[in-house]
């Protein structure tokens, strides 16, 4: 039991850490594509780790399925949004310097 709790804490903390790093990336990276890279890759991993950490504490299995589904949807949505933003970004500015677009 202790081991499971330790593992969960580790998963949740590392998930939060990934979010932190991803946010740092959005703030610090110079151009839109690399910001999207930070947003989509790191946050999806962070969310996955958090979901994984929360799963053992779930009492009803439909809730667990919903949480996994949310994670998958978030992955799909962020991949799609990132793709579209970069596409629009390219259309506007071949040089890609400046603000982040709406996603």
């Amino acid at each position: 039991m202790m081991l499971i709790d330790l593992l969960r804490a580790l998963l949740l903390l590392s998930g939060a850490l990934f979010f932190l790093v991803g946010t740092l990336g959005i703030l610090r990276f110079p151009d839109t594509p690399s910001r999207i890279h930070a947003l989509t890759k790191v946050d999806n991993l962070g969310l996955g780790l958090i979901v994984l950490g929360l799963l053992p504490g779930v009492e009803h299995w439909p809730v667990a399925i919903k949480m996994i589904l949310i994670w998958l949807l978030a992955i799909a949505a962020s991949a799609l949004a990132g793709h579209l933003v970069v596409r629009v970004c390219r259309e506007f500015r071949p040089s890609n310097a400046g603000e982040q677009q709406d996603d």
Partner: protein
């Protein structure tokens, strides 16, 4: 801890919206504000409001604002008559905001006098309403008048929006985002969104959910379809569109009048069929509100997407 963080962040983000130097930044801050607000509603144990705030306050309003922003970026004829009025408008806005703030402060300082314990009253009469979820019972049984008038207000807003839109002839500007990935994902996402909308509608009778939330999801579907360049079925049938727009209110009025025929009160549901009537009204409202919310989006002229650098529209704060 979380509450403290939220309480501190919310005013900061609100300030960010007001003081943002660019309109785009302000809009993004506003969306963030809506999402934070939804979190606050969750913390206040009002999941219904949280759903509505996230879907309508942050999502749909955000889309509308971004859309309006795209329109603002279109080249305007020189000479803006509003410029000279700006100081006056600023003072007016400040006075209004100040007055509203004072009223709110007064309301906060007023000692609470619970003359009627509303949650207890609702719990007492919920059997008679025909649904099991107190929020739905309030919205569609106890205070159905409010909901009816709300829908009417939205309908009027959309009618005005559409009337203004038809005076623009340049609405045919391209506003498409085309991408094979988007098309592929849409065929996955849209059925899922429809499922979520119907789920929200259905669980409204016993849990958080209902017509407004379901309608927001459906409106999002329509916006997504529109932005991806799909032809909406029935897009070119004004009659069909109008029927859809007024259908919810019409059903509401029609079913609400049923008891009138038997000498009852307006908007009083028949005792045995209350649940079924509410579900019918909610279903009609969902589809109608989805069209209404979408029409608000559609009513704005198409944004300029081609050839305009997206960093203009600086606004003095």
């Amino acid at each position: 801890m979380i509450d403290l963080l939220l309480a501190l962040t919310l005013p900061l983000v609100a300030l960010g919206v007001l003081l943002a130097r660019e309109l785009f930044r302000a809009v993004v801050m506003f969306i963030a504000f809506g999402l934070l607000m939804a979190l606050v509603w969750v913390r206040l144990q009002a999941p219904d409001l949280a759903l509505a705030e996230a879907a309508i306050g942050a999502g749909l309003t955000g889309v509308l604002l971004l859309d309006a922003l795209g329109h603002l970026r279109q080249p305007h004829p020189p000479g803006q008559p509003l410029r000279s009025l700006l100081p006056l408008l600023t003072i007016l806005a400040l006075v209004l905001a100040g007055a509203l703030g004072l009223v709110l402060l007064g309301a906060l300082l007023e000692p609470l006098q619970p003359s009627v314990n509303l949650p207890a009253e609702v719990a007492l009469h919920i059997e008679a309403s025909g649904v099991a979820h107190p929020v739905t019972a309030v919205l569609l049984a106890f205070r159905a008048w409010d909901t009816l008038l709300e829908v009417a207000v939205i309908l009027v807003a959309v009618v005005v929006g559409l009337a203004l839109r038809f005076s623009h002839d340049d609405a045919a500007a391209e506003s498409r985002v085309s991408s094979p990935l988007l098309q592929g994902m849409l065929s996955w996402l849209l059925p899922l969104m429809l499922l979520v909308a119907l789920y929200l509608l259905w669980i409204g009778s016993y849990r958080s959910g209902g017509a407004f939330q379901a309608a927001a999801v459906m409106a999002a579907m329509l916006v997504l379809l529109r932005l991806s360049g799909q032809q909406l079925p029935g897009q070119n049938h004004p009659l069909l569109l109008r029927a859809g727009l007024v259908g919810g209110l019409g059903t509401f009025l029609l079913l609400g009048s049923v008891q009138l025929l038997q000498g009852g009160a307006f908007l009083a549901w028949p005792e045995q069929l209350a649940g079924a009537f509410i579900l019918l009204v909610e279903t009609a409202l969902t589809f109608s509100l989805a069209l209404l919310l979408y029409a608000l989006f559609e009513a704005s002229p198409a944004p300029a997407r081609k050839g305009h650098p997206p960093r203009t529209g600086d606004q003095p704060s």
